[in-house]
Symmetry: none
């Protein structure tokens, strides 16, 4: 009973689930499917309506790409997260193009885009949920933008980590986030969040003992 | 009859106006006010809930600012536009801070933020309208981000000069290099250097009064 499986998942993740009709619940389940994306697979490309993707395991990466092939990570989705920007037919006001890749082997379940759009048209609660989910990512994207544009915080942190590693002759920088923040003239919260961003990119690993550099080449590129 | 004036404005701009109760319409009008902002006035700063601002004349600029005072224009609002990001209490998922200045003398009418939030809680149509209005700006901001992060500076400057010339209907852009830099999210030195390069190529002429476009065709080619 595939549909029972979907219903039990959706009951957990969709706050509107109990408020909509039996027929709409059934319709959503009938237009859902399970899918396994292998690591590295491109799942969504640009403005097509790939559907609403729920991550059951693994990790997806949302990013933008320039004509020259340069890309910038906007944010990642992990277990329990929902990807709404991949359902452009639900969100007519979104006109920019994002790409989504599976960053790890990922198990997902997907509600078909046009089907989700159809039920959201007749249920304001679903529409509000979809809009709020999409809008909440706006803040994440603005954060990335602010860091990269204003502070060159990625650059400053990369320079500091490179220099410190060269100075001590070790790949591990044994400093707290607060100490690093003081060195580069920033706030602890900002450093922690940027280190998390670096870790997500596979550039460093953050542990109790400090920060370990995993990818010197990319760190050096960021520091340029 | 102030309230009649507001009602006639809101009838035009709020698609939900006829669908809500008389009491809610009255409540919105009672919590509205007219205001004239002089050119240069800061209207909204950060995360306070300034309200929903409707531009009746003039122009508002939304921007982000770094700790060092560098700013980046996200978008502008003109006659007939509505500013929703200034009503952070309506949009709980928005956690970043924007600033809004009057760029020209501007006549606006404002619905008090908490009042708008209150009616939007009991009217899904209002909530959907607020979310869609905010989300539609997400695309504008992503466009700016793409311009700044991905595009080369010559292209950015060429686009700005072309757009500004088209907007004002004049070949001369009467702005300082510092002002242009702020508009395109760059540094004054970078803009000056690029303008010198453009001047060397015979594309523009730089004078005390500003920048005059000499070769529109090449400028347009650069902007492609």
């Amino acid at each position: 009973m595939q549909e029972t499986v979907f219903a039990s998942i959706y009951k957990e993740i969709f706050p509107f689930w109990e408020a909509i009709s039996d027929a709409d619940r059934e319709y959503i389940c009938q237009n859902s499917y399970h899918i396994a994306y292998p690591k590295g697979k491109n799942i969504h490309n640009g403005s097509e309506c790939s559907g609403v993707i729920f991550v059951r395991s693994g990790s997806l990466r949302l990013y933008m790409m320039s004509d020259e092939g340069k890309d910038i990570t906007l944010y990642r989705l992990h277990k329990g997260d929902l990807c709404m920007l991949s359902a452009s037919c639900v969100l007519e006001t979104i006109t920019f193009e994002v790409l989504v890749d599976a960053e790890l082997d990922s198990q997902c379940c997907v509600v078909d885009g046009p089907a989700f759009a159809a039920v959201s048209k007749r249920n304001p609660d679903i529409r509000i949920f979809a809009l709020e989910t999409a809008l909440s990512r706006f803040s994440d994207v603005m954060w990335v933008m602010q860091q990269i544009l204003f502070m060159s915080m990625d650059k400053r942190l990369a320079i500091f980590l490179s220099d410190e590693s060269a100075r001590t002759g070790s790949d591990t920088i044994s400093l707290t986030h607060g100490q690093i923040a003081r060195y580069i003239g920033s706030a602890r919260e900002v450093v922690s969040r940027m280190l998390k961003y670096f870790a997500g990119e596979g550039i460093v690993e953050v542990s109790r003992g400090g920060v370990t550099i995993l990818d010197k080449k990319r760190l050096r590129e960021l520091a340029l």
